[in-house]
């Protein structure tokens, strides 16, 4: 069982959903992103997702684009991303990298898998790589038992959900809205059918593969609406743009940014426990 699945299982044993928090590496700078991610860990994130800034992020809205661009403009490299992973994974919290595919292909799929594992990373979330185009990554991940988090969407056919969940490890990422990050709000009514279909179509009825809902989740109330106990049964909620926006809103005042980040994390952690 991967460290990510363990974190989901622990949350489930507590009768709640897991909170997954995202920030791009190198935003506001490399050290700043490590400090921010550690605050998110301390304030209640069960799992961390570290974004690898990329020049052409087609799944991201303006908020995450701006943060990634800032990181790239400051010269962040793939090696820096792995350094951030190492620092965050050292806290003992499962740490995944969310990345568009080309930077991994360029680094070398096998080499990336090795260096990610060596840094203590749990695996990859791949927004533009589906299992049918991922044989190299699947082989490299399987060799090191890294998580392979693929996405399912409201538009996915049953056949593709079955194919995707069969290939996934760690969890499966259900996109809450048809749209890019940070623009539309996910609602329970909108997400419920996808979560239900994903569970029903997963191997073993979803017993071994948690479903995390992301894209369009930004508040504690939403987290509660989606979460396992009183919500629609998502095993985890994934929040990205809201964390990024919090830091963007405090330019030049790191302490205030981190305090606001802690407050948002606590609100969301309360939400998944509601």
């Amino acid at each position: 069982m991967s460290s990510t699945s363990t974190a989901f299982a622990r949350a489930r044993a507590e009768g709640r959903a897991a909170l997954v928090g995202y920030l791009p590496a190198g935003f506001p700078d490399v050290e700043g992103s490590i400090a921010a991610l550690k605050v998110m860990v301390e304030s209640g994130c069960d799992i961390i997702e570290i974004g690898l800034p990329y020049s052409d992020p087609v799944m991201d809205g303006p908020t995450i684009q701006a943060a990634a661009q800032q990181a790239l403009d400051a010269g962040v490299r793939t090696a820096d991303v792995l350094r951030v992973v190492e620092a965050v994974a050292a806290t003992g919290t499962p740490t995944l990298v969310m990345t568009y595919w080309n930077p991994v292909e360029r680094y070398g799929v096998e080499r990336f898998a090795r260096d990610l594992a060596d840094a203590g990373g749990a695996g990859l979330i791949t927004p533009d790589l589906t299992p049918d185009f991922a044989p190299e990554w699947i082989a490299a991940a399987d060799e090191r038992e890294l998580d392979k988090v693929f996405l399912v969407a409201p538009s996915s056919t049953d056949e593709r959900i079955a194919m995707t969940t069969a290939a996934a490890r760690g969890f499966v990422y259900a996109t809450g809205v048809m749209g890019v990050t940070g623009t539309t709000q996910a609602t329970a009514a909108g997400v419920a059918p996808l979560v239900a279909r994903t569970k029903a179509l997963s191997p073993a009825g979803g017993a071994d593969l948690p479903v995390g809902v992301g894209v369009g989740v930004s508040t504690g109330a939403q987290a509660a609406e989606l979460a396992v106990k009183n919500g629609i049964g998502a095993d985890g909620v994934i929040v990205g743009s809201a964390f990024v926006r919090t830091l963007l809103n405090h330019p030049g005042d790191r302490a205030a940014g981190l305090a606001a980040l802690a407050a948002l994390t606590e609100e969301l952690a309360g939400g998944v426990r509601a």
Binding site: V58, M59, E105, D128, T130, L151, R160, M178, G179
Partner: protein, 409 residues
């Protein structure tokens, strides 16, 4: 299966080689739906008949194959020009958009989105949308809206909404990103009219099916008019639609050499260029594995070209496969060479080409040196009206009483 035909997953040149579909899962159903609808349409004589009728009655196709005798004299080889510049809206792009817009109608969708660099594809999309009664939104990099303001006005006059894209390098690649972001959120009622033979499967194959008339007509015209096939064919390569449309007609004629001319910008050695195949490396961009201009970490590098339509750091996967197979050669042509060829064609033949197409003419002049007396068929993909601002600045034109500062011989 030939190099320009995809397998079921969209691979060209073998599984995993070039092409494919590196896309968010949210768009896969739409791409599959498009693939099925397109295949059904192409097998339906009612659809292909309507497409042919529109091309003929509305767009002025087939375009002429023209024997450019004065240019040929200058080149030392016989140059034939496929006159796509005479099509309605002034470029080959109208073929692609009429095909895709008709397909949109057939699929029951009411809105189209498009990206554009030079504005040519945007204008063509706005035109087809106006003609077929579809809503049209065009994404255009902010930098391009400034250097191609006239085309922005044309699109607006045609009833399209033009959205300036301010992310990234604010050029064509970012306009594609933004169009894809729109599509993820609007896919139920919206079709994405992709402007070139790139992107995720089935776009490269679908676009080829609508532009391949260029090559099929040119081959037939060449045989009918001159009783022989050309020794070589040449086209400019941005994303690769006009080029693949021409090449498809000749790829199975091994005696015909195939040349694609990429934008060499200030010169490949300066790093400021868009010579993706010549100087790039294999990666994934905009949904396909293909040659890409990228840095060591796989971040896309900004391309540079005097021609907005060639200013793209990727290229269609069919061209990558043709290059890898050794069937076609891809070479850079600098801004200066292209502008010289633009002036030369204007002054020898009375034809002002698009700056994009001038790259193909310049390339043909170069290969003519190695092929004296041979026949070289060049795709003149578009006309130069949209580029008069560029020419005015480059040649110092516009002041009566002189012929411009940079005289060509």
């Amino acid at each position: 299966m030939s190099t320009y035909e995809a397998d079921a997953l969209g691979w060209f040149g073998g599984t995993g080689a070039f092409g494919g579909r590196f896309m968010p899962e949210a768009l896969i159903a739409a791409l599959d739906e498009l693939d099925v609808a397109w295949r059904e349409a192409m097998a339906d004589p009612a659809f292909t008949g309507e497409f042919d009728r529109l091309l003929h009655e509305y767009a002025g196709v087939p375009s002429l194959l023209y024997d450019a005798t004065r240019l040929s004299e200058h080149a030392g080889a016989r140059i034939l020009l496929k006159r796509e510049d005479l099509n309605h809206t002034g470029a080959h792009k109208i073929r692609n958009v009429l095909g895709q817009a008709l397909l949109t109608q057939r699929m029951g969708k009411t809105r189209v989105i498009a990206e554009t660099g030079a504005g040519q594809h945007g204008v063509a999309s706005a035109t087809a949308a106006a003609y077929l009664g579809l809503d049209c939104t065009v994404y255009m990099g902010e930098v391009d809206t400034e250097r191609q303001a006239l085309n922005v006005a044309r699109m607006q006059l045609l009833g399209a909404e033009v959205i300036p894209v301010t992310s990234g390098s604010r050029t064509l690649k970012d306009a594609i990103n933004e169009a894809m972001r729109d599509w993820v959120a609007s896919v139920d009622e919206t079709a994405y009219l992709f402007g070139t033979a790139a992107g995720p499967h089935p776009f490269p194959s679908l676009v080829l099916s609508f532009v391949r008339g260029i090559g099929d007509e040119a081959r037939r015209q060449c045989l009918d008019q001159y009783g022989t096939l050309p020794d070589a064919v040449a086209a400019c390569v941005g994303g690769g639609s006009n080029a693949i449309g021409l090449f498809a007609g000749f790829v199975d004629d091994p005696e015909v050499a195939i040349y694609g001319f990429e934008a060499g910008g200030d010169g490949v050695e300066t790093g400021r260029h868009a010579a993706t195949i010549f100087a790039g490396s294999i990666g994934v961009l905009h949904g396909a594995r293909t040659f890409v201009l990228q840095d060591e970490d796989g971040q896309t590098i900004e391309s540079h070209s005097i021609s907005a339509g060639l200013d793209y750091p990727g290229v269609g996967p069919q061209h990558s496969a043709l290059s890898a197979a050794g069937r076609a050669s891809y070479l850079p042509v600098t801004d200066a060479e292209a502008m010289d060829a633009m002036a030369l064609l204007a002054r020898t033949e009375g034809i002002i080409p698009a700056v994009e197409s001038a790259h193909a003419v310049a390339g043909a002049l170069r290969i003519a040196e190695e092929r004296p007396g041979q026949t070289i068929l060049v795709n003149l993909s578009g006309r130069g009206d949209k580029d008069m601002g560029t020419a005015l600045e480059y040649f110092g034109l516009g002041q009566a009483g002189s012929r411009g500062q940079r005289e060509t011989k």
